[in-house]
Each structure stands twice: as C-alpha cells, then as structure tokens.
C-alpha cells in the first residue's frame, strides 16, 4: 500500500482516530509520518524531514477548510492555529483539546498510551461524571436485558436512564 500523502513510498505507519464515532484512518510512509510529527523517534533522528506538520496532517484529516476559509484551522476560543501548537508543543486554551482533538489525539496516545483519566476530579464536575458513568452502566444493562428478551426489565432500565437525563 502506498503512502496516502506522497503516493510514492510504501506506507509503513498506520494511524486511526475516532472522533464523535467517526473513524479516520491514515497510512503513511516513514518520511511523511515524520513530517506530520507522528513519528517522534524518526523525526528526532532526522530533523531535516520535519516539514509543515499541520498542513499535511490537517489536509489528510479533512480539517483544512476550502481555500480562503481557514475557520477549522484556528481555535474559535483562543485563536491559536495548528502551526503554533505544533511549533510550541502547547495548546492555547482548554477548548483546543476539543477543537483539535483529531490532530492532538495521536500525540496524546503516543505520550500516554491509550489511556483515559482515572484520577481526581474537580468538585464542580464530580456529579456530572458520576451521572455519566451511571448512564454507561445502565445502558450496558439495558443491552443485556434486550439480548435476554427481558423486556420488563428493559423498560425499567429505560425509565431509569430517562430519569438520569432529566436530572442532568
């Protein structure tokens, strides 16, 4: 399989990100992966290959807006663009993590593995997170009940989920 970016070399690096249920896949050669900042080890060895990461990556991720419109390229909250994030290695504000999630996720995975937060939670968000995990638990039970054709139990669970949504 050829690299999706240059179309010349064999793709040896494969990336997949899922954002809001939409999965995007990338197959790159080593050089383009490094240029996109995705292959840190290689990029460190051969810094000369480091090119315009955001341009390449955002093209491929479909993040680049049509010519003349760069709305997706800039964080609507703080105004930072991908070039600046790439250059400094820092996000501009909390919203950058939502807005540029598709681009940042591979980096975060590379640093921390396929992990989600399990530590402390700020006081203001504890109730919301509890509700969210309760909902996940109830939904799993609901699927189980439907699978077992226990429709009475399923109806109960559905009511519980609705109640939880109301509270939120």
């Amino acid at each position: 399989m050829l690299c999706q970016h240059c179309g010349q070399h064999e793709a040896t690096r494969f990336y997949r990100t899922t954002v809001n249920g939409k999965t995007q896949e990338l197959s790159l050669c080593q050089t383009c992966a490094a240029a996109a900042g995705l292959d840190v080890e290689f990029a460190q060895k051969f810094p000369a290959f480091l090119g315009d990461m955001p341009a390449i990556l955002s093209d491929m991720m479909g993040l680049r807006a049509p010519a003349g419109r760069q709305t997706h390229h800039v964080c609507p909250s703080c105004g930072i663009n991908l070039q600046d994030i790439s250059r400094t290695g820092k996000a501009g504000c909390a919203s950058c993590y939502t807005h540029f999630q598709a681009v940042l996720l591979p980096y975060i995975r590379k640093m921390h593995g396929n992990a989600v937060h399990t530590g402390r939670v700020p006081s203001g968000q504890r109730a919301e997170l509890r509700r969210r995990s309760e909902r996940t638990r109830l939904e799993a039970q609901l699927q189980e009940a439907i699978g077992a054709q226990a429709f009475e139990r399923a109806a109960e669970l559905r009511d519980e989920i609705k109640q939880l949504e109301k509270e939120g």
């Binding site: 703080c78 105004g79 820092k90 996000a91 501009g92 909390a94 975060i108 640093m111 989600v116 530590g119």
Partner: protein, 345 residues
Amino acid sequence: MALDRQRDEPRRNTCDDIAVSTRIRLARNLADHPFPDRMSDEQAEEILEKVSGLFQPLDAGARFHTVRLTRENRLKARVLVENHLISPEFAGSDRPHGVILSEARGISVMVGEEDHIRIQTIGPGLCLEERMQEAQRVDEIIDGGLLYAFDGDFGYLTSCPTNLGTALRASVMLHLPALTESGAIREIVTAVGKMGLAVRGLYGEGSQVQGALYQVSNQTTLGLTESEIIDRVTAVVERIVEQERALRTRFKTQRPARFQDRVWRAWGLLSHARLLSGEDAMRLLSDLRWGVAEGELPPMPMTRLNDLLRDIQPGVLANAAGRALDAGARDAARAGAVRAALTAT
C-alpha cells in the same frame, strides 16, 4: 534578609541518608481563560488576584503571602529558584506573574507559569504521600473558589499535553555518589526511563547533574490515579536507594582507605577553605554528606547538609550579603557559609 527556612520536619522514613527532598507538583488551569502563553497582561493580573485572594483569609499557621515577581526583583526570584520554590522558567517570565508562598509548610503556588496555576509542595527526605496530601489540600482551596479546566477523558487540561490527566509530577531528589562513582547510574537512568519515570539534574528539566544529586520523577500523568503514581515513584526510589546502599557498602569495605581519605579530605577542605567555587563546593559537599551518612565523619543533622546545598547558591549568598557579589566575593562568602555550618553545634 534571608527567606524563612523551611520547617525541619520530623524524620518520617528511613531514606534520609540518600533521599534529600521530595516535591509534588500539580498543574491546573482555569476553564474560562486562554492558557498563559495566549493571555493578555490584564488576564494574567486578574488570575493572580483571584488565586491570591483565595489564600488571604487562610492564615492559621501557614502564613500565606504573595510575592509578585517583576524585572526589578530578579534576585528574589533567583533565591526562590535556589530554594526550589519556583521553577527557573517561571523566574524569567516576562508577563505578570507571582507566587503564593508558605515557607513554613513548604508550599508554593505559582500563578502564570506554563499553566495558570502550579501547586508545589516540598519537604525533606522521602515523603511523597504526605506532600501529596498537602498539595491536595491546597488544590481544594483553589477548586472551592474557581472553575478548573477539566475533561472526563483527558483529566486536568494543561498547556502541554505531556501533563494531561492527573497533571501530577512527583519527584524525589536523591544523593547517589556510589552509583555515580561506579558508573552504574547510567544503567539506572535507562531502566528508570523504561518504567515511565525520568532522572534529571538538580533544578529539573535540562539541568546539569551536580554533587551526585538526581531527581527521579514520573513522566506519565494520564491513565493512572495520583496514588498509583505516588506508589510507583516510591517503589522505584526505594529500589535505587537499596542499590546505592549496597554499592556504598562495597566501596567502603573493598577500598576503606580510599573511602576514608575521600570523605575526610572533603571535611578538611570544607572546614578550612577561604575560597570555594560553586562546582568545588557541590563536589565536596557530596563527599561530606556521604561520609556523614556512613558514620565515618562526625555526626551532623542531614537537614543542615540539605540547607547548605541551598545556602551556597549564588542568589542565596547575594541575598544574605544584602548586595551583589562578584565571583571572588561570592567564593569567599560561600566558603564562610560552609565553615559556619560545619562548626555550628
């Protein structure tokens, strides 16, 4: 005028011979402001005011006070760096920034570092769990008054993605002369790196190793709880301490005369020298600490040796002298500070 010394806390562990100090750092940002790099000076001022305001009513014993750092008080900032109360990058920042301090409790809250808020607690020896509890108490003070930037999956949102999740850095400064002497430290650095931890020099990231002092800290911040991180760092530190102790014993038994000569020579030079460069002082204090820890040299509290590591630094010396010191005057002041500490009863 010298800053208050940190409280000499009771001995709580058995690693004081090797573990010099412990530090906890929590990074926090406020939800409704851009991160410091993108902030205006007005926003930076506003955050400093808000955070500082939360600590004003709380005085009981902690004596919290805010130090605003400006171009005019760079010496003060340098002293705080040498006291490990603020980071070197923070000291040199150009935007409005300040630190809320309680020297009595080893607490510093940097406002306007790479993240809006960096809570830091330090203490002598190996005391990660206790310092973590203190940091969490400070965290709750801020959390009670301001809204943190947080995401259910990414945890505390930080300027740099390397700190996401718990945004916790737990680090312990270790004195490792035997591992350094034998060269085994290189293998330790590699092994520790593979376990998701890092080994750095005296003043953190990018700093040089001086006086056989190393900082061991966690790298991974996302996907582990705070307790898991603390447990992991503690386990690794204890393992390194064991290896250092084993090598010290070997060094002492296999080459007793060489060991004795080395530590007594340091004692002699430090007790009598009239001029000491920073580099010489760090090297000799390392040998002195080794000799005291092994019971070869006259007993001396480890806390005094820890204080000396700080008191011989350029900013602290100039601050104590009350004036700027040129290199010669500084070396004389350093030698004086060391002699005073060694002759104190």
